[in-house]
Amino acid sequence: MTGVGAGPVLKVFAALVYAFLLSPVLIVIVISFSADSFIVFPPTGLSLQWYGRLFGHPALMAGLQFSLVIAVIVSVLSLALGVPAAYALAKGNFRGREALANLFLAPILLPTLVLGLALLLFFQPLRLTATIPGLVLGHLCVTLPFVVRMMTTAFATLPDEVEAAAATLGAPPWRVAQRVTLPLAMPGLLAAAALSFLLSFDETVISLFLSGPRASTLPVEMVRYVEGRTDPMIAALSVLLIAGTLVIVIAVEKLVGVTRAIGR
């Protein structure tokens, strides 16, 4: 790929880019173990005190719990609504299929700021702001297009003949879905579930518009916290979030890898 001599230069360059990209993360990790009471780098001593305080912080812990609940509901609903829609878009043969596919993808193109404001104006008269249904609906605007897009691709690459074979062998449509289509689409399903979970958990802008005093997601609570002060507690929280995300990504990678291996 590269000539002799270009190799080392390129490697050093790549290493520098990675170092640049990862250095904030590394700094955050170091600060999270700080023994100081405000942010200094490098810290004068190491401790776990900020982790301890984090778990004792009621607003952030409530936000975390609330975010987890929302993310789980959003993932389940995204799959429940997005998977059948994607199947119809990938395999169906009906008028306006193209238009419908574009409609499903449209929210991706909209800045979340606009989406958040629109949802706020729309939800306020319906008394849906600062409620679980309101936030779930708001997050679905973000996750559903992604799930539909991922699963449309996943279904489109499944050969029609495999499903047709199941039908000729006596399987009615729901049995074909259960025994053939869904198992073969499993890697895509897992990835879509993980993605909608992470997108919902991470969603800040829409949540800022739709949250209220007794119903705030973790990112909203974090924004509120850092408005007041900056101390290493937020670094400790960041480290936990990074670790959680990594666990999900690695788990999906492993599962999808395994499913692929036993698949084809």
Binding site: V162, A164, A167, T168, L169, G170, P172, P173, L184, I262
Partner: protein, 349 residues
Amino acid sequence: MPSLSIQGLTKRYGATVAVDGLSLDVGAGEAVALLGPSGCGKTTTLRMVAGLIEPGDGSIRLDGVDITRQPAYRRGMGYVFQSYALFPHMSVSANVGFGLDERGVGRAERDQRVSQALDLVRLQGLGHRKPKELSGGQQQRVALARALVIKPAVLLLDESLSNLDSKLRDAMRQEIRDIQRALSITTLFVTHDQIEAFTMCDRIAVMEKGRIAQIGSARDIYDDPVSRFVAQFVGRANVLPLTRTGDGLSLAGAPVSVSSVPTGDVDLFIRPQLVKLLAPSEPASGLDRLTGKVTRVSFVGERVEVVVDTAAGRIIVEPPAGTTPPDEGADIGVGWRPADARAFRREDA
């Protein structure tokens, strides 16, 4: 085994008519080949019979019962796809047992029938493998076993051998034919390969542009093609332009006779095996004849092929085995019985 009856089957895709009023009867236990060039509507026909495509018009009956609007999963037909379409996430046994599960067959009986089916296609002991761990020929057998194990009302095969190499194909032809005969399964077999059609089926339906051009035994179709298309698609033929003379026909000035002659410009068709080589001046009673020069003698496997250039055009002759072929460059005569020649209307080039 039930009989299959197709009447006026039609399928349009926008402006293309994929299948155009096709009618065909397959007797109980009979194997019929749908033979035709690519794009003539064979797959579409087979899929309509299986219930995978909804017909635009026409009817399909199984033992007299109309199944035209019945969904595929109720028809109980065994379909072997060109791509095999095995379930990649299931073992060979699970693939073969799929149709039995859907029929609610108990575990013990299921296992027994799966292993019988695997025996039948000589795949004993490979039940635990995944399809991707098998060769193309083995996958083909799994697809066949999977279709046979449900004791299908009709067996439908779509170009099922075209992905195999030629040696394997020969073996599978025999095997499938033997199984079809032994179980006497009503079979509809789609192919564009005439050897496959000839060796595997009782009757052949030659398809052209969504219709059946001719149906009959291999012999009938080869000896007595009803149209120019059939004569050219099945087997080989010499095609020579005929000219009309006062009351008859001639080939480059030599008078010839042909039994039935359509109106308009016509060509003479004669099979290479039915042309005899004659000495240049040899009188040949009862034969129409031409003279020419041998331009090439080639050995095509076990056959000899002699190419003769005549005033009417190039003629390929396949003399019977054991004849001493003439020398290249020699003057020679060629002749045939008028009863063996056919005349078909010339196509606009």
